[in-house]
Amino acid sequence: MRHIISVILEDEAGALSRVSGLFTQRGFNIESLTVAQTTDPTLSRMTIVSSGSERVLEQIVKQLNKLIEVVKVTDLTSQDHVERELMLAKISSTSKEGVDLKELVEIFGCKVVDVKDKIYTIEVSGKTKKINAFLDALEPSNIIEISRTGVTGISRGKKLI
């Protein structure tokens, strides 16, 4: 099962490699990992998407907690939460099947943020599923290049990590 794990950790050199090293060392899987500073500049927030059985997830959370620099670990998927991913995609405008790119952009609520050499750069954000659906709607040969951020997430309402 897929899990979104939020980790608050000290913003120190080497902290990221400790986390990624832990996943390799113990054979845990990482689908995506994002990290950036929080409102407290001494702390970073990391969002990891991983999958595995409940027991594997329990180990992931415990092993993360064991890292000295980790302040807090939460499995967001176990609670009410919002998740988003951002993608920048360069799409060629010459559509063979006549799918109107602008129409797609409207349907999926994305934005065209740049155009150069007849190539559109489109910004898509939403759940992973939506981004995948957008890509599926395109002619594969028109997709020049994509860059995805991986999932980030946050709990709903008053509840903090």
Binding site: L9, Q25, V71
Partner: protein, 577 residues
């Protein structure tokens, strides 16, 4: 007063109460060595190889409970120490390793003797630091000792670039204590879990206590004894836990696991309630997980939450210090009525009658088991025994009945050959009044032989009991059982003359190849209070370690000495209790 980084570092070590540092100098740490030379509170032990430094500090820490301290240079200095650091990590030994690093501006430039020390050690330390500013030295040392010695202990590496040791600043007060917001180990158990555990323990009819290294490292031996005697339960101990409860006591079933006793393993298999205390259900303990303790409920006590439900799902997990958890359980259970377990004890006594550690003596050859028995007799069971890794390690664990914690020092988790000799040296420095025996084999001893030289320089007399059978015995045993006797690379030809070798290092060497000479030689060796004695004992090369649970087997599938068939008990035998 203005001090340089090296002087600040050494001052911090003094403030931490460090009395011994095991190390080896080199370019990146020359300023630190200069500062060490200028003081006399800390004795520096100059080893002959950095792995020996880490094992020496490890043996020191295991013998007296204080953190071991290592000082090595950059590059090969720290890479040589890695095996010793990993050894300490697997067995949760408190250790602080200071490694020199190339000057800050050269980091990342592939400088001479540069290696990414924090990167290389990351997966085998509890934590590591790279000091980037002279102002951080004191706080980093404070953090390192705090992390190494609290919670589940472990090694911490501090990597210090050379320029940081040269820079100067005004001396500041060394912090008295430290608070790390992201590191707060749970020490006190939850009352609710204690009540639940007490209930289960009181109602179990076939209980067993299974005590591990956490009882030794956590100094919980006293509480463990009180708890075990109060309940009157059988107790088995892991390789790392031996001595936490006296092995000569009638409630002790000895060691469990792959080479554990018949009664310990059968009792585990038949139990309805296993109380794991500071133990981690290692694969050498559980054997085949699918067949492990089929009818037991598990209470798992550990300070490290990640150990709980890792291999075996705990019915009642209790996170906390072994001392505190046991104290809480003792007070909770003081007036509790316990289920009658007399039937369980009579079943266990039947299993005991199998006498699984019995072995046949044969004329003309020295049986390795008899060497350990003789060692036990001559030292009256009071020596600190270190070991290397292999058959001799198992025999020492089985036949030397440890009655006290910290009496048995071995590399249980990583299984590091070469550990025994430097660990014995460290143990002697920690406990100079004690007799120290290093039980080893001709394979293991050759991995750290050079430390014989250090042992002469620092006058650390230990007795080396070399069980010399010419084979890498445990490898040979597996090849005999599981590789149709194809003895690939397990025979060691061209062994040195160990007696002459010991003598060339300035020690006393005695060769023993007759049974009747064994005891007199041991007596003579232990009479030599001030000398290291190397006893090269020629033992039966065909001897195997029994009992044994073959890989994939259950606790009830044991191979016993002199019995060709596996002893397997069907379930009805257990249900009858």
């Amino acid at each position: 007063m203005e001090l340089n980084g090296a002087e600040i570092l050494v001052d911090c070590l003094q403030k931490e109460g460090v009395d011994h540092v095991f190390g080896y100098p080199g370019g990146a740490v020359l300023h630190i060595y200069d500062a060490i030379e200028a003081q006399d509170k800390i004795t520096h032990v100059l080893v002959r190889h950095e792995q020996g430094a880490a094992h020496g500090a490890d043996g020191y820490a295991r013998a007296n409970g204080k953190p071991g301290v290592v000082l090595v240079t950059s590059g090969p200095g720290i890479t040589n120490a890695v095996t010793g650091i990993a050894t300490a990590h697997m067995d949760s030994i408190p250790m602080v390793v200071i490694s020199g690093q190339v000057p800050s501006p050269l980091i990342g430039m592939d400088a001479f003797q540069e290696v990414d020390a924090t990167g290389i050690t990351r997966s085998c330390v509890k934590h590591n630091f790279l000091v980037r500013d002279i102002k951080d030295i004191a706080i980093t040392v404070k953090k390192a000792f705090h992390i190494a010695t609290t919670g589940r202990p472990g090694p911490v590496v501090i990597d210090i670039p050379k320029d940081i040791t040269i820079a100067k600043m005004e001396k500041e007060e060394y912090p008295e204590s430290i608070e790390i917001r992201s590191y707060k180990p749970t020490t006190k158990p939850s009352n609710r879990q204690i009540r639940k555990a007490a209930e289960l323990i009181a109602n179990s009819k076939k209980p067993i206590l299974y005590a591990g290294g956490g009882c030794v490292i956590g100094n919980a031996s006293e509480e463990l004894r009180e708890f075990t005697r109060m309940l009157g339960f059988p107790i088995t101990q892991t390789l790392m836990g031996l001595g936490a409860y006296p092995m000569t006591d009638k409630q002790s079933l000895g060691m469990l696991g792959m080479h554990g006793t018949y009664e310990a393993n059968m009792a585990m298999h038949g139990s309805d309630c296993v109380v794991a205390i500071g133990a981690r259900f290692d694969d050498r303990i559980t054997g085949n997980l699918a067949k492990f303790c089929p009818s037991a409920k598990f209470i798992h006590i550990d300070i490290d939450p990640s150990q709980i439900s890792k291999n075996v799902v705990a019915d009642i997990p209790i996170v906390g210090q072994t001392t505190q958890v046991l104290k809480a359980l003792i007070s909770e259970m003081k007036d509790k009525e316990l289920a009658d377990i007399s039937k369980w004890w009579s079943k266990i006594d039947e299993w005991r009658k199998v006498d699984s550690l019995a072995y046949k003596k044969s004329p003309g050859v020295i049986k390795p088991q008899s060497v350990i028995e003789a060692l036990y007799e001559v030292t009256e069971g009071k020596a600190i025994v270190t070991s290397d890794v292999g058959q001799h390690q198992m025999w020492a664990a089985q036949y030397y009945l440890f009655d006290e914690p910290r009496q048995w020092i071995n590399s249980g988790g990583l299984g590091t050959m070469g550990f025994g000799l430097p660990a014995a040296m460290g143990a002697k420095l920690a406990m100079p009044e004690k007799d120290i025996a290093c039980v080893t084999g001709e394979g293991s001893i050759q991995m750290m032989l050079q430390e014989l030289s250090t042992m002469l320089q620092y006058a650390t007399p230990v007795k080396i009991i070399n069980l010399n059978n010419g084979y890498l015995g445990m490898v040979r045993q597996w090849q005999e059982f599981f590789y149709e006797k194809r003895y690939a690379m397990s025979y060691m030809d061209a062994l040195p003359d160990f007696v002459k070798l010991a003598e060339s290092y300035g020690h006393l060497g005695i060769k023993v190849d007759k049974e009747e000479d064994l005891k007199p030689a041991l007596v003579e060796a232990f009479k030599q209070k001030d000398r290291t004695v190397f006893l090269d004992i020629i033992t039966d090369p065909s001897e195997n370690v029994f009992p044994m649970i073959p890989a994939g087997g259950a606790h009830c599938d044991m191979l016993l000495a002199g019995r060709d068939e596996m002893v397997s008990k069907d379930e009805t035998d257990f249900n009858a209790v």
